[in-house]
Subunit: 427 residues, 2 copies
Amino acid sequence: MSTSEPEMSASHTGHDVRMRGFARRTTVEQALCWVDEQSCPLDSQRIAIDAAYQRVLANDVVSAVDVPGFDRSMMDGYAVRAEDTLGATPYNRLPLRVVGQALPGAAFSEKVASGQAVRIMTGAPLPAGADAVLPVERVEVDGDRILAQDAVVRQKHVGVRGEDVSCGDSVLPRGRRLRPQDVGVLSSIGRAEVDVIRLPRVRIIVTGNELLPAGALPSEHRISDANGPMLTSLVTRDGGVPEHPGIVPDDPASILDAMRSDVDVVLVSGGSSVGQEDHAPVLLATHGELPIHGIAMRPSSPAGMGILGKRLVFLLPGNPVACLSAYDFFAGRAIRRLSGNATEWPYVTIQRPLCRKLVSTVGRVDYARVRIDGDAIEPLAISGASLLSTTTRADGFVVIPADSEGYPEGTVVEVFCFDQKAVPLRT
Amino acid sequence: MSTSEPEMSASHTGHDVRMRGFARRTTVEQALCWVDEQSCPLDSQRIAIDAAYQRVLANDVVSAVDVPGFDRSMMDGYAVRAEDTLGATPYNRLPLRVVGQALPGAAFSEKVASGQAVRIMTGAPLPAGADAVLPVERVEVDGDRILAQDAVVRQKHVGVRGEDVSCGDSVLPRGRRLRPQDVGVLSSIGRAEVDVIRLPRVRIIVTGNELLPAGALPSEHRISDANGPMLTSLVTRDGGVPEHPGIVPDDPASILDAMRSDVDVVLVSGGSSVGQEDHAPVLLATHGELPIHGIAMRPSSPAGMGILGKRLVFLLPGNPVACLSAYDFFAGRAIRRLSGNATEWPYVTIQRPLCRKLVSTVGRVDYARVRIDGDAIEPLAISGASLLSTTTRADGFVVIPADSEGYPEGTVVEVFCFDQKAVPLRT
């Protein structure tokens, strides 16, 4: 249904919401370009390293220390002067006097002289004067003496200062998504905190007078909100911090108020099209910018995107499959980029042949849910934007480009898998 | 160094810790079998659906409702009796009287009679008597009448009750790791809570008198704990709930007390070998079971595993690369299985040729860190178990089986990537 609100022509965006249907649809490619232009990594924040796993570094990390900070023994044995062991064999055992011990964290404080040895444990600092470690298996203990049965060269079984990390080394680059071992290395160089890209705050606005809040049993003429919990999970997956305080009444004042939340990204689910009750596009065109509304794809064609103040706003269709697809193509990409993560989809892909033809229409991108049936791909649905269960029965989806009429049976297609495939461990 | 504590022969495990070095090493394959035997999914717990993303379902979920629970309009338009539109064209417009409206969540309460129409919005319940929706684009409004310009068949533009989910449908199977859209479907069928596999609680015990707590700057003869923060991140990755209250003093009473924490899994980092200061294996053999101690792999050969009460205990070497590798081969696998997740590694794999030979030794599994250099794989290190920075410079690792001497240059090897590769989005 058309609307006659006068400010709706929104000439600064070229958007005319009085039309029935969309006058012109933006291509998926153009919309992706717009997303990429608008979404650079956010500013940084300093956090404790115990919260740093999977966060993205805002700066190169340079070590201010050597790791280890001292020469240390890599074996249980005896710290010796290597020259004292020259010629030692099981048949020519050379005696050394044991003058003390070095334990991890407890150094031997004197200097090892010629003819002396210090009992040493793995990880203990090598005493001054000593330059090698004779492993415990290569000596015989004889009272306060040991009999060396083997010769060792200098530095043997010694981990030298700075061999893991040297002071001044750049240990991790800016933009790195921190792995478990990276967090370990940060700790090893004594970093208690680290600067990472701030996580985007994302306000989820779910509208629709037919909706009951998540957790409510659907009643006679109302359905329970599926998009709110789904979007909350998707935002979490992509590195955003979701805020979803509940269903927003389907009136312009309530929606505009929610759109003005103190966040980085706004997702509006429902009322994204050009009908009389579709308030969000009108509000965005009036109070901000709506450069893209209507996209040449199925489902999700009624999606839109724009800017309100400093917020990126995504208008997502209320139909849940269209909501998922529009989120995945555009909003998720923006959230990943804002949080410093990789732009691309977090889906593993596989290539397999189609067991049935998959029909599409030239001029739009299709998002086709498929099942992985052994070695073949079974198309489930392209249409059915209101049937979220098609996405839970599916193992993934195929994207059919705008210039394709689809694929005949047997065509090898690329499937984006909803769940990461297990990697078999071979030994 | 040997120990002479008398109860150490631990005959119930066949483990003799008086030996120097390991008498016999368990194969990686045997150790994996032991892990799989000991780790079945834990019991279930009921949680709210807003915490359910990525949790694993303990039971099949069966819907107790139809979704939608009523026939609804899929378009903005007019609810009509299809028979009334028979023969309508732009040149033969048929008049219908508009008797009311149906909005989402607000039904038209009367019955639509022949010759009548009800204005209806997408998502609104179809009124009684009506059986199709005439889209707004196919009518002309004429006061309180519409002129139908097109015929519609019964059910046209109607979403029928239960078309997404029918009452009694099994919507999600036991064992499913919940995806964003799954959480949406749970909400759509009115589930506020769901039964999922409980997350294993994992006590991380880091010992070593040379260690300073994470976040401390390393001082003269001490190093800062890398394994605690690394293991905390790994446990989180694999679906466990880590507990790491700080460094545990390197004495048997403190370690045993910590091992008896109220948890499902205990990870002990440091003191895992057969030296005099290696308390954990002795404690485990004495107070529990230590069926596996010493594994034919590099690094990580001093690893062990056993049972204390109902807890699975993993003894991980203190050297950080060996700690990472032992965790990844065994402890992580157990935690994933206990939490109901896939047994296999959460790493994406790629196949590429080696740009240099990669040497190994028959009789043990090698964990070789590699870099991905364009289209080639560059080996970084097999040894250097104390150098955690080799794992942060690496892009992943290659597992060289026990029966292999390694691979010549040019061999295509499988790399387990530390970071999931980006999936390019094609449109």
